[in-house]
Structures are given as C-alpha cells and as structure tokens.
Amino acid sequence: MTAPRPSSSAAEPGSPAAEPQDVARAAAERGALAYKSCEGCGRPHYYPRPLCPFCLSAATRWREASGGGSVYSLSIVPEAEGARALLFVTLDEGFTILSAASDDPAEAFAIGARVRVVFRPDGDGVLQPFFRLDDAGD
C-alpha cells in the first residue's frame, strides 16, 4: 500500500463554502486525484465529504492519491462512436471509486487489471479522473 501523501496547501479551499467537487476539480487541474481522510478514525473515504461517513467527525483532511489502482469491476457499453467501459477502481490507498476507461480500448480492460489515473475533460469540459491501463507494469 502506498502511504497517503498529505495534500499541498493548494488543495485546501480558501473558502469554507467550497464544495468538494470544486476542490477535486482544482486538484485535477494539477494532475492529482483528491480524496478525504479522517483524523478521527483514520479511514479514507470517497466521494469526499466535509463529515466522515464512518464516524461523522468534521476533522477530515484532503489527501492526494498515488493514482494507481486495479479494476474491481467493469461494464462495457457498445456505442456508435466506440465502446465505453464504466469502472469501479480500487485505488492503492484502499477505497473504490466509480470511473470510466480512457486512452486504451474499452475491451482491453479486465477485472484485476492494473490501472492509472488520467485526467480527461467530461462533457462540460471539466477534468475528471478516468483510468488507463498501467503499462508501466508492477
């Protein structure tokens, strides 16, 4: 397991009203996958929230994931413009997130495959954490 790296100060919102997605978006623009970890119970969680869903502590801190993980499950959706793969990816930090395949063909993904985060624009042009196959190997 990769130890979670403390987030840079840039990931901490200047305004307490910043929504989790705004913080995640700012991190994505720096190439980082932001998540939250709880200082009360020590557990990471995703999607990120102000209060820890395991103990309701408000002492949650932003962290940046290493970006590596493995496919927990996938569903390939044939579409006219090419197949898409919806993914659950279990990150090396131990939590699982809903995402989708990018860069590599959808059919190349399989449960258990090593993957790495890549930030690609969604339909609104917002950078989101997709995953490509981790051909660097492990």
């Binding site: 999607y47 499950s73 959706v77 699982t96 258990g112």
Partner: protein, 388 residues
Amino acid sequence: MSPTPQAYIAGVFEHPTRSAPDKTTAQLHAEAAAGALADAGLSLGDVDAYFCAGDAPGLGALSMAEYIGLTPRLIDTTELGGASYISHLNHAMRAIAAGRCTVALITLAGRPRSERSSGKAARVYSADAPDLPFELPFSPSMVALYGLVAARHMHEFGTTSEQLAWIKVAASQHARHNPAARLPDPVTVEDVLASPMIASPLHRLDCCVVTDGGGAVVVAAEGVMRSLDRPALRIAGAGEAIKHQNGGAVDLTYSAAARAGADAFAEAGVKPADVDYASIYDSFTITLLMQLEDLGFCEKGAGGRFVADGGLISGEGRLPVNTDGGGLCNNHPANRGGITKIIEAVRQLRGAAAPALQVPNCRLALVSGIGGSLATRHGAAVALLERE
C-alpha cells in the same frame, strides 16, 4: 395483554395498460386506486391512510390525495425506488398494529414508455445529489451499473451469461400464460445471448420491459378484513434496508436484501424452505439472482446453478418465481415494479394465478424488491404474506 392487531392485504389491482400515451400519471394513480378498492369491496371513504413514493406527480401525497379524493390521517411517502411499495406494505402493517389506521391505500403509476425513459441513460433524480459531481461525468446508465454487479458476480463465483439467461427464459415461460404481458412470447437461452449487448455482461433480454401503467394495494385491519368477501392474507413479517458505497468500501457481492430478508423471516418465524411462491424484483436478471442468494434460497454464489435449467419455472423448477412474467416480460410500470410483485403474490395466495402456473395450496409467499442501483445505492424491502 391483547395480541398485536394484524394487517391483511384486502385488495390489489394491476392496471391492464402497458402503453398509456393518452393518460396522465395522476389518472393512472386514480384508476389503480379505484381498481384495488373495488377488488377489496371498499370505497374511497373507507381509506384512512395513503402511501405513494417520491415520484408521484406534484407534491407527492398532497397532490395525489386531492386528485384521488382521499382524506387520510396517516401519510407515508417513503422513497426506496422500486422497493418503495413493499416498504409501504411494511409501514402500513405497523401503522395498523399501532391502531393508527384501518384501511391503507398504496398506489404507483408512471409513463416511462410514453416519455421514452429507459435504463440506457444516466438517471438524475435531483440536481443537488451529493454523489452527482463524482459519478455523472462517467455516464453511469442504469444498465451499466447493474452490469458492474453482474461482472463482479461472474468473477467471484463463476456465474455465466447462460445462467442469467435462464431467469429470462423462466419469465417468458410464465408470460405466455399472461394475456396482458408486454412480451408474451417464450424465449430461449440462445435468444437471450444473441440479443444485443447493452452493457456487458447484460444483453437486451437481461433487461426488464419499459411499460406505462400502475398498480395499487389495499391493506386492512383485521376487523375490516373479516367483513370482506376476500381470503385473509396476513402480512406475517417485513423488513427493509439500504446499502450504498460505504464511503468507498465497495462490495458488490451482496445486496440490502440480506438484511431486509433476515428481518422479515425472523418476524414471520419462517425460513426460506417454507416459502411456496416468491415474487422477486427483476429489473435485470442479475437483480433477481442476487436476491435469491441474499434471501437464503441458496448459498451465496450458488444463484447461477439455482436458476439454471428452468429452476424458477412454476411446476418444474426449484422455486416458482414471478408467475406473471415479472418485470422481465410482463410489466415494470414507472420503471419500478415493486407493486406488481405484491399483486402476483396475492394472486397466488388467492389461487387466482394463471391455472397452468398456480402453485397448489399456496399458503406462504415472499415478496422482495430492490430500488435504486445495486452498484451505488439501493433500498431493499421484503415481506412475507400468509394465507390464513
């Protein structure tokens, strides 16, 4: 101490339409209400409790009570997607036990076929859902979310597409006896596997039908029930639960039906082997398979072998399931079929199912529903119904 007042299903109605371009959803609610009250032999003025889910038109129960003409003293709009109506059954039972009402009406209606709403697009229930910014960018269609669950089940337990296809085959063998079924023609395992892949490993024929329509159920206290000319079908036990992604500790191998079912069986004092007939929610083939395991009809991971080779076909299989043809072939009104599950269980307990599919001396029926998405967040509701 007097015994706890018991609750009974007095009336049911499944709207016969499967396509209603010329009717409003509110009208379908009212027609379903009228049908169920007529079936029970009760009238509008007898109703003192009203239940609908969060998808009812307008401001839910407020708008529907006015439209239908109800003046309830107990109102419940619990929203668990397609499981809502079985949850309503549970809550109606407890309200009757507490003496808070004597006749509860539950209605469902919707027009997804006319409104061209299906499981192939991501569904947004409200723009401020906290999960939305972290999920919607990846276009999670309802079918693909259930595909994630099916793919993991196959990976963990060796479940096959052929086994899932048998669930559709059983539904189609039942639907051919139902003149109102949306898909009345039998299909084979090969037909299911040859149908287009919608979201792997789920084919088109692994999916339920998209139908307009509705249904209603009337629950009555014992005193009312005894005055009616209907068999007394007691709600013997019920349970409900929610399961979600648990902050990222995702486990797709089980559903909330495990907890809901355990509570229902414990309350009724029966076990899966006692069940004569089961109505099990079948938005997709995997939905039904998951509940079979979680309710204890077979071991976890053994669902594929349980359903294979006609395991769910009435009269020849291991457990008669969804003898109306289910959501897979008969009806899935409003993209949420929970109420049709109750209705077919009542037909079986009354001895009023299709003659070829009627379970002999059917005395104990299970009703199970799943609402929302198995992969992300869903509700489950289970009830056990007993003919006295």
